[in-house]
């Protein structure tokens, strides 16, 4: 028995008793409710994760920030490939992300973006890749999935809503919906048993009264009065 234990310890033998994906290299999402539902207990490393149809401004980046903060403060590097807007440095820094570990890559064309993603995954130094691929085809995703499996990086692909109905080689696929002050994460593909209900993830929001009645627009003050003040209020 001792010999068997020894073999099991030294070799990666898959055992039926452990749920699929007890991969040790999962990265905690920072949200316990979500970690419980993610195979391996966190974001998978060395695999594709697809985030489909995220609307802007619902907390879609907040979902990843705790994991990115943990990675970067451990000195691990992250690549942002072809994001739709500027990831705003003051907000990233405020979320605890070490900006020194980030590289922002612009790649307007489909082929350039795919090539850049593969380069990042081939480099052992890129521990997370966030990529916005708008026109990726199945063959492209397949290539990325292969590259991801050969790497140890967490790969998050942000894809448009239309992609939800298409087949994908990603091992984890999520759809995001706003849910009051939280974010509803629907895991529609994962290793192991599928999940019926959405997970409510308490992402950080800038106001705590979402859903309370909005206040009316302040009346436009007389511009002339403003100008007479003339002092920089924040200077």
């Amino acid at each position: 028995m001792a010999a068997l234990e020894d073999i099991l310890q030294r070799h990666p033998v898959w055992r039926g008793e452990s749920p699929a994906g007890s991969r040790p290299d999962a990265l905690s999402s920072g949200y316990p409710a979500l970690d419980r539902e993610l195979p391996g207990g966190g974001w998978p490393a060395g695999a594709l994760t697809e985030i489909v149809g995220a609307r802007r401004g619902i907390g879609e980046l907040q979902l990843l920030l705790p994991a990115l903060a943990a990675l970067t403060s451990a000195g691990k590097r992250v690549v942002w490939l072809a994001p739709p807007h500027l990831p705003y440095p003051p907000a990233l820094a405020a979320a605890g992300i070490d900006l020194a570990q980030l590289a922002l890559v612009r790649a307007p064309g489909r082929r350039d973006a795919l090539w850049a993603a593969e380069q990042a995954l081939r480099a052992g130094s890129c521990h997370a890749l966030l990529a916005w691929l708008r026109h990726a085809r199945f063959a492209d995703l397949r290539r990325l999935a292969v590259a991801a499996e050969a790497s140890r990086a967490f790969v998050a692909l942000f894809r448009p809503q239309e992609a939800a109905g298409e087949p994908s080689p990603a091992c984890l696929r999520l759809a995001l919906e706003p849910a009051g002050e939280a974010l509803a994460v629907r895991i529609f593909k994962r290793r192991g048993a599928p999940l019926a209900a959405a997970v409510r993830v308490p992402v950080k929001r800038p106001v705590h009264a979402l859903g309370r009645s909005a206040f009316p627009q302040p009346a436009s003050r007389d511009a002339g009065t403003d100008r007479r003040l003339g002092l920089p209020l924040h200077a």
Binding site: R56, E60, L61, L86, P87, A93, L99, D112, Q119, A123
Partner: protein, 350 residues
């Protein structure tokens, strides 16, 4: 030289290696072995044979005097009386002859490579294919590598100029993430650039230039191998991405101590951020629209604000804005501001 003959496989082996190395660099050389360095130099200039039979032109001396006394070979010169020769031609000629014959020691200065590299190569035929250009560039890169190895140095960038017949030449600047002298690595970066280059005109010649040598010693995997290797790997990744996508396509991000949203960040070289320059602002969106987007006055509901941001009057880039957090497009949160009565969307709380 005697001591290293065995290692190089005898005199002929050594000469063969020299010739092959020089040919690879694109040089034609005249090589002659002799017992002393000066005799070898003269023989190489005169095309070999015996020292005595060489024409006096191989000497670094004024030729007019030799012609006037009817001396044409080194042998004839050696037979002249020494003292008379020294009086008429100066001590230097006699000394040079002594050094050639090995009667006097030769003190030579070691070769010091110049701190810049520039070499030009005429292509054997005009080329339009990236592959043909790359093959030619490899020869120049091999020369550069040789020079860098001799100086234990590396370069952080190099420039390849493609010379078109009868048209302005094109210049490619290749930046390296870390000092390098490996010709294969440089060729790989050049390949990406050449592949992306529209070659409308044939290339007649190319020139490779590099300066700003920095000390670079052969690296050895050591105690800190892992972290260092990762840093190096990261630098190489950025270098590869830049070679194909352009230098500005890859950057790092930093905060900047300024209240204006547009001025409170900047692009930097990846890795250059100093966290000490960061001060926590109020609620800031994770996505910033680099161009604020005009909003119709009814497209949103205000949730929080205003935060008055007004500064920059001293550098002529004045901003006077009231920022709000607003709900728009259903449940999305945007960062919007009002300026001169108009509303603009400036970011998303993503």
């Amino acid at each position: 030289m005697e001591g290293s003959l065995r290692y190089f496989g005898g005199r002929d082996g050594l000469l063969g290696k020299l010739r092959a190395g020089l040919a690879e660099l694109g040089f034609e050389a005249s090589i002659a072995p002799a017992d002393t360095a000066r005799a070898a130099l003269w023989l190489a200039r005169g095309g070999g044979g015996r020292l005595e039979d060489l024409p006096v032109e191989v000497l670094d001396m004024e030729q007019a005097f030799f012609r006037s006394i009817g001396i044409s070979s080194v042998g004839e010169l050696l037979r002249l009386p020494r003292e008379g020769l020294a009086r008429r031609c100066g001590r230097r000629l006699v000394d040079d002859l002594d050094r050639a014959l090995g009667k006097a020691p030769e003190a030579r200065e070691f070769f010091v490579a110049p701190p810049r590299f520039a070499a030009q190569l005429e292509l054997p035929a005009e080329a339009t294919q990236a592959e043909a250009l790359l093959a030619a560039a490899r020869r120049l890169l091999a020369q550069l590598e040789g020079l860098l190895a001799a100086r234990q140095a590396g370069v952080r960038s190099f420039t390849l100029t493609l010379i078109h017949p009868g048209a302005p030449s094109a210049t490619l600047e290749i930046g390296l993430a870390s000092p390098a002298r490996d010709a294969a690595r440089m060729a790989q970066l050049l390949r990406e650039r050449l592949a992306a280059l529209p070659l409308a005109r044939p290339v007649q010649a190319m020139r490779l230039e590099a300066g700003d040598f920095t000390p670079l010693h052969a690296s050895s995997a050591g105690m800190f191998g892992d972290a260092l290797a990762e840093t190096e790997d990261w630098a190489r990744l950025i270098e590869r991405l830049r070679a194909r996508l352009g230098h500005d396509a890859v950057c790092g991000l930093a905060t900047s101590p300024d209240h204006r949203p547009e001025a409170s960040w900047r692009r930097i070289e990846p890795g250059d951020w100093d966290p000490r320059e960061f001060r926590l602002p109020g609620a800031r969106p994770l996505w910033l629209l680099e161009q604020p987007q005009r909003l119709p006055g009814t497209a949103f509901a205000l949730l929080a604000g205003p935060e008055r941001i007004e500064c920059g009057w001293w550098d002529g880039d004045e901003a006077r804005r009231d920022y709000f957090i607003a709900q728009l497009e259903g449940a999305s949160l945007g960062w919007i501001f009002r300026e001169d009565g108009d509303w603009y969307l400036h970011g998303w709380f993503a």
